[in-house]
């Protein structure tokens, strides 16, 4: 369904930017290692650690590096595959095999945008901020559209093991399915705990969840 669309659309939009830049006479020549390296160095000298937001957050992993490098250009199929494969390999499952938790807790997690900002209390558990980008329960009018609507997620896909596993995997590491997706890697980067991922999965796949009404 629509989940993959986001990333591909972005890649397309970024193409358009380069065209826009040319009109201004300012488009950089494709892939200038000098500019890339100098921009990275300038960034690192322009920030300071604050609270839990330490300077190592500016160090890119391979996925971040590749996605930044290819922003504005078509991501070669082989690179996309490399990214997706590497990220797929990071996905872990609970020891007890239970992927679905409580949708009511999931709703709270989906509503909360707190966590990992230097202004946040690191002792409080982080939210997933799903509503910032997605429609979920239709009662919530204040939802974003960076990602696709997830209203009816379980109902449309079927309340099956495959749907539950896909929801887990996607939340755990979205890059495994859509290279350079806009969605954070909630499991791989330990943004959410195992139980929190279960609860968000429940919000998506529990037949009783408002998402599936």
């Amino acid at each position: 369904m629509g989940m993959k669309v986001g990333a591909r659309c972005i890649a397309g939009a970024l193409m358009a930017i380069v065209a826009g830049g040319v009109m201004h006479g300012c488009a950089s020549a494709p892939a200038e290692p000098d500019v890339t390296d100098r921009a990275a160095a300038m960034l690192k000298s322009s920030f300071k650690a604050r609270g839990q937001a330490t300077m190592d957050r500016l160090d890119q992993d391979e996925t971040q590096r590749l996605c930044s490098e290819y922003a504005g250009r078509t991501l070669p199929a082989s690179t996309a595959e490399t990214i997706e494969k590497a990220n797929l390999a990071t996905i872990r499952y609970p020891a007890d095999g239970k992927l679905v938790g409580d949708w009511k807790s999931g709703e709270k997690i989906a509503q909360s945008g707190q966590g990992f900002q230097y202004s946040d209390d690191p002792k409080k558990s982080a939210g997933a901020n799903c509503y910032a980008c997605h429609q979920l329960a239709p009662q919530e009018l204040s939802y974003g559209t960076i990602g696709p609507s997830l209203y009816g997620f379980g109902k449309r896909r079927g309340f099956t093991d495959a749907t539950r596993k896909y929801a887990w995997d996607k939340i755990y590491n979205a890059e495994a399915f859509a290279a350079c997706s806009n969605m954070p890697r909630f499991g791989q980067h330990h943004i959410l705990t195992e139980q929190q991922i279960r609860d968000v999965v429940a919000l998506l796949v529990d037949p009783a969840s408002p998402v599936n009404q």
Binding site: S112, G113, Q114, Q117, G127, N129, A132, L141, S142, G144
Partner: protein, 157 residues
Amino acid sequence: MNTQRRQAMKAASAWTLVTLVAAAGWLKPGDAAAEDWNKGAFDTHSMDETLKALGGSPPAPSKDIVFFSTPDIAENGAVVPIGIRSSVPKTESIAILIEKNPNMLAAVFDIPPGTDPSLSTRIKMGQTSDVYALVKADGKYYVASKEIKVTLGGCGG
């Protein structure tokens, strides 16, 4: 929600404030200078508190009181634009009440003869709530209400 009950609650809450305010001698005619701030009226905290002071009949709902330039949804509750116009003859004062705020009364404006009974200002709303425009005209009270929804901001607020 039960519509009838809701309407009754609306009327009652606005009305109790009127009695409270009137009893405090605040909306008295000719009080245009308003040098004294009426603590009692601004201290009404809850529906219960105002209900206790109930007595008499509620203010008449009036179609002659309209909200203008007042959105149904506020992007931020800290600043909610409110415009109120009264075409009730001999309008003497206009008050703005927010049902679900910690203190119901937000503002009251005394309108001397020669001043247009129409004004706009901005108020804070803690959450989605009914907002009342309470008008005193020729010694009688009239009311109109409007629900304003308050939304959450992006990026976790």
